[in-house]
């Protein structure tokens, strides 16, 4: 197979492990590196959006465009850091923060009604009209005590999703 990119040394592995707060084991990092090299076809050191989209299962995911903005052009260290949120050892706060970042795609620090609409649009496509989406969102927001005009902050997300928590776990296959 032999990619042009250098092999991982023990130092590299430890550096990556530290960067992701030890949420990923060393074996998993080696496995992820193989995967990274497989996706990064010309050994540029990062995976381009096109290469992510060449994974059919990823390309047909409704949120692929939003996620692409977060993973496009990441080097290996940040790639592992991104995936570390999906580890079973990651805290609930970290996972909720990831969700928040997906909604708050332009990193304003708050999630507006428009952001909520956008994600709902990605998830429902042409099977719900824009009015239906606005109606549904306004309705559930009101019921939870928020108005259409107020923006949600991370604390709000924690409050809403905190109990009974989220299940976002992906296992890294280790040979």
């Amino acid at each position: 197979m032999g990619n042009a990119s250098s092999m991982l040394t023990q130092y590299d592995i430890e550096e990556v492990q530290e960067h992701c707060n030890y949420l990923i084991s060393q074996q998993e990092i080696v496995s992820l590196y193989q995967r990274f090299c497989q996706l990064d076809r010309n050994a540029k050191g990062f995976i381009s959006a096109d290469e992510f989209l060449s994974i059919p299962e990823f390309a047909l995911n409704p949120l692929s465009q939003k996620l692409l903005k977060m993973v496009d052009g990441l080097n290996f260290k940040d790639f592992v850091a991104f995936l570390s949120t999906f580890s079973s050892k990651a805290s609930l706060e970290q996972k909720i923060e990831l969700l928040f970042k997906v909604y708050d795609i332009d990193s304003k620090g708050k999630v507006t009604f428009k952001d909520l609409l956008e994600v709902l649009r990605d998830l429902t496509g042409s099977f719900m009209s824009e009015e239906q989406r606005e109606k549904v969102l306004s309705q559930v927001l009101e019921e939870a005590g928020y108005s259409r005009n107020c923006s949600l902050l991370l604390e709000d997300f924690v409050k809403i999703l905190g109990k009974p928590g989220l299940k976002i776990e992906v296992e890294v296959p280790v040979d």
């Binding site: 995967r35 497989q38 076809r41 994974i55 047909l60 692929s64 999906f86 998830l123 309705q139």
Partner: protein, 371 residues
């Protein structure tokens, strides 16, 4: 199934249910009242996406696993070095010599036959057939091919096609040395294209072009014409449409299965013990691939000619294709994945994403009704 080309509607009706293979959305079975957290909680979708980034069944089909290095030892390493010297210094030149001699004999007989006899002369066809079989045997000898054939050899009669799983272009050579098949191939550039044009025209070849959308109908017509002729060589088709790493099979294209004739499955399994015969066309040119084979010890494989299959009443061509793929996968010990091989070159159809969106939208609307 194609992404960038305009998709024809017939493929939707016949598609096997992909949802059975993909992870199902965790939609609650009993509709409950809709709360804010239900709309905010996008975890199933995120998990699926991250799961696909970490490992996915499609990319696995094209991964060539490097063999375990066995030369890591003080005394094994010199042995390995000796092996390298023998392979590159002795075997390779010998093989090149054999190959060159073979080509010279081939051309010495082919050129006169091709130019002196008319195109439909029976003798010319017989000679060209035998010559193609011979040059393929020379190729196989040049990689020290050890091929074990099981089952009845293909016979030359009309109304039949042969289908096989595809690992590399050498599949064709290995099968061709036993029987002069006519083949349907993608036009290649370079010296391979030259060989395709001049020599394979003699055994009867049909060309297709992946990127041409109208191509499919033209090719289907040519296929039909070919199998009618009693004098034509038996037709060999690789329905996967692309090279796969010999551990998995991707979905078979239905073109070969809607011709209304017998389909004879052929299963090919390579033994990776001496060399991995998978041709990763994105990573290697065919010349490099041949070089890699010619500097290895041997190419070992098994070929099984399986029982001819006919389409059953009430079976769609796609179901027929899947049934035959099942037979071949079981025989060769390959795992099936529900992906179209052309996804290597094209994006998946947006219809699949729309299906997911539809499921989610309907669930939301349904729960909205619940009070």
């Amino acid at each position: 199934m194609v992404g960038l080309r305009s998709s024809s509607s017939e493929m939707d009706l016949d598609r096997p249910n992909i949802e059975e293979y993909l992870t199902t959305d965790s939609i609650e079975e009993s509709p409950k009242k809709l709360h804010l957290r239900d709309l905010l909680d996008i975890s199933p979708t995120l998990t699926e996406a991250a799961g696909a980034i970490v490992d996915d069944s499609f990319t696995r089909c094209f991964k060539s696993n490097p063999p375990e290095p066995w030369n890591w030892n003080v005394y094994l390493f010199p042995l390995w070095c000796l092996g390298v010297i023998i392979r590159y210094g002795i075997l390779f030149p010998l093989r090149v010599a054999v190959l060159t001699a073979g080509w010279l004999v081939f051309f010495a007989a082919f050129i006169p036959a091709h130019f002196l006899l008319t195109a439909h002369n029976k003798w010319r066809r017989k000679i060209e057939r035998k010559l193609v079989e011979m040059i393929c045997s020379v190729f196989v000898a040049s990689w020290t091919g050890v091929v074990k054939y099981h089952g009845p050899r293909p016979s030359m009669r009309p109304q039949q096609v042969f289908v096989a799983n595809h690992t590399s272009m050498i599949d064709f050579i290995i099968l061709e040395q036993m029987t002069a098949f006519a083949v349907i191939m993608q036009k290649h550039p370079g010296w391979v294209g030259f060989i395709q044009k001049t020599i394979l025209e003699g055994v009867g070849c049909i060309w297709f072009n992946r990127t041409e959308s109208k191509d499919r109908e033209v090719v289907a017509r040519k296929l039909r014409e070919h199998i009618q002729g009693a004098d034509n060589n038996p037709l060999l088709i690789f329905p996967e449409g692309t090279c796969v790493n010999n551990h998995y099979t991707v979905m078979f294209k239905k073109g070969a299965f809607e011709l209304g004739c017998a389909v004879c499955p052929v299963a090919i399994k390579y033994n990776k013990i001496f060399v991995d015969a998978f041709w990763n066309s994105k990573k290697q040119s065919f010349t490099m691939h041949l070089f890699h084979l010619m500097t290895s010890w041997a190419v070992v494989c098994d070929v099984w000619y399986l029982e001819p299959q006919y389409i059953r009443p009430g079976e769609t061509p796609i179901e027929f294709a899947e049934r035959v793929r099942d037979m071949i996968s079981v025989r060769a010990g390959l795992r099936k994945v529900p992906w179209d091989g052309y996804l290597k070159y094209f994006r998946p159809s947006p219809k699949l994403t729309e299906r997911k969106q539809q499921i989610f939208a309907e669930s939301v609307l349904q729960r909205l009704e619940e009070k």
